[in-house]
Assembly symmetry: C2
Homo-oligomer: 289 residues x 2
């Protein structure tokens, strides 16, 4: 199980719902200038690509994914002409440096996210930016709160960890992106808060995104012996219960933006200074004339 | 122990720091019109009062608290002339109806927060608003995450529960304020996110507010046998560890605003309609002339 969430149709529907409800929260402040080139690494079924390309109609996107099945869905979903879909593994992908990189809901599945970020850094022009968005299942809090609900959520976290990923990665974006060598790293949390006055989010997030995602690992969690069927079902029922009028649900996504500041090597710097008419040596020499 | 956080000097300093670091996040959107009257219920040492009265210089505040010691500090701290401090218990306090009520970090200590909110509702004029702010210790997530840190936090939660309060009350504001009969209730989460790029919050929130607050119940938690000294100290050390450059810390406050919509009784309504020159009956009667 390399990808916990799976590729079945129900899952694709969930990812579609999720993108719809969360578009504004996650993506409203991501826009790329006309003429710029953007690499979307791990575009999957294109759930984020739809919004990305619509928000930056003048930019050109290259959206890559390792799965041909996902790309087939993405190509059907995204009809804009400023995106090219390419089947490729990140590590084997070669291209001209991009102005910007965008990566969303991908690092959570990787055993070595810093290595992936460092690889993406090599694909950026000097001064280019990376934008990273991840969730954090440990940020889920809700009312009424029950132990069974937390145990069901922990199944998803455990399965993702067994697959080499980290479902709690959101809170780590700042140290991860910094460790990969990016600078001016800024992380902003994006909290989804749901209560009885927000029926769209009750349906689009609490029910059809988060709880459906937990429920989606039921068979695997039972097969692995992580929990009993009764306890898991109780937990999922409790999560659906938070969608009632007097329930609440909270979940936080994290968005990081970093810059690929490429340092000028010491030799180059010396050469540049020597060639500069306004170096200190030059000025001091003149002052002594 | 009626009030978990205690009244000692160190605690007052902590509350002062907290107010300083969080003023913008919690209070920037609370302003009352000139001439309006506002009741601040449970003002304590005036940590919020300073900001409240400064942000609404034309409004008149009545800030009440049951503790004479706290009020003495509040009177020294708040020198503005648009506030009157009154020593009173909420249940025994009588006054002309206020235009607005403000209550911050109070409900967490009460066994029956809905009853308190309902009482506050009786002190509001029709159409007046209530603003409620509370934290939620269950919203704390951090990196590196350790079991010991969570166990130390749970001591604070358990002590507050033993004292009749609820340290996880933030997530319940919507149902609580609604249950008290307020309408148009809107809750907005206010998340404090701290990473290595935010030294002010590392110091002001992670260290001096949250971790200091947990550490503040050390003696009580040990006396009650909730945890061993070694484990508690390990947890607190782990919380301080999240304040390092590669650590992160998250905490969410919740702010609710509700309106005291007083329904006009059916009899009154009939009378008002009968006396109106522009009622449907009247208009239809004329149209038939």
């Amino acid at each position: 199980m390399a990808y916990v969430h799976g590729y079945d149709e129900r899952e694709n529907e969930r990812l579609g719902d999720q993108a719809g409800a969360l578009v504004e929260l996650l993506h409203h402040d991501t826009g790329y200038p006309a003429g710029s080139t953007v690499l979307e690494a791990g575009c999957g079924v294109g759930a984020q690509t739809v919004t990305l390309v619509a928000n930056s109609p003048g930019a050109h996107f290259t959206s890559i994914d390792v799965s041909a099945e996902s790309l087939a869905i993405a190509r059907e979903r995204v009809t804009a002409d400023n995106v090219e879909f390419v089947q490729a593994d990140l590590l084997g992908f070669h291209a001209e440096p991009f102005d910007h990189v965008f990566v969303c809901f991908v690092l959570e599945h990787l055993a070595d996210p810093v290595a992936a970020l460092a690889k993406l850094k090599t694909m950026l022009r000097p001064g280019g930016t990376i934008t990273v968005i991840e969730g954090d299942h440990g940020s889920a809090s809700f009312h009424p709160e029950t132990q069974a609900a937390h145990e069901a959520i922990r199944c998803l976290v455990a399965l993702q960890r067994d697959a080499g990923g980290d479902a709690l990665i959101g809170r780590r974006l700042y140290p991860l992106v910094s460790a990969a060598g990016f600078e001016h790293v800024r992380v902003s949390p994006r909290m989804v808060y749901v209560d009885g006055s927000r029926p769209d989010l009750i349906d689009g997030f609490t029910r059809k995104t988060f709880t459906a995602m937990v429920d989606g690992v039921r068979e695997t969690a039972l097969a692995r012996g992580l929990i009993s069927a009764e306890r898991f079902d109780e937990g999922v029922r409790d999560l659906y219960r938070t969608a009632a009028d007097d329930g609440t649900f909270n979940y936080t996504f994290f968005k990081a933006v970093g810059t690929n500041v490429v340092e000028v090597a010491a030799d180059d710097l010396a050469g540049q200074l020597a060639g500069s008419a306004a170096s200190f040596t030059d000025l001091l020499g003149r002052a002594g004339d």
